[in-house]
Amino acid sequence: MFIARVVGNVWATKKIEVLEKRRLLLVQPMDPKSGKSGGKVMMAVCDKIDAGIGDVVLIMDEGSSAKQVLGTDPRPVRTFVFAIIDQIRTGPDTVQYT
């Protein structure tokens, strides 16, 4: 899992059925201390969590966990928005995001 910021989204009408009714967000890994996001932009499937652009989220980037959350039958999904992060505490200082 890694911390990322939602930096955009993708819309695609013609797609495989498992992606129907699910949002496709573009996320970029983020440094929790400085809040700066950089590096490779990845696409994450967002199911029940209403994360939007600018939110700081927790991304699950591994096959079987996404399958567990999305449902039992096999799904070609790997990167997944897992949570919206409210606060990160590192040592004495705390960063509030929501």
Partner: protein, 93 residues
Amino acid sequence: MHPAKVIGHVVASQKDESLLGVRLLLLQPTDWEGNPIDDYVVAADSVGAGYDESVFFVESREAAVAFPAIPPIDAGVVAIIDGVNLDPDYYGR
């Protein structure tokens, strides 16, 4: 899931029989702004993507489950991209 541009398709009459009926697309992987990166990829097509369309594909064993026969492939096109929005306020800041 990575974005790519369809730049052609691959025809192979001699192939593993589980690949029969699977259309193989030649993809040029791109970044989310459309600039080409990495080398070409051959991916199985499950959404009927055509030439010069931008798609995104899955690159791992999961790609095979998008197909009924679960063929021995490791890359599959799973959607045709209509549009990408990279918010300038947050992207790369």
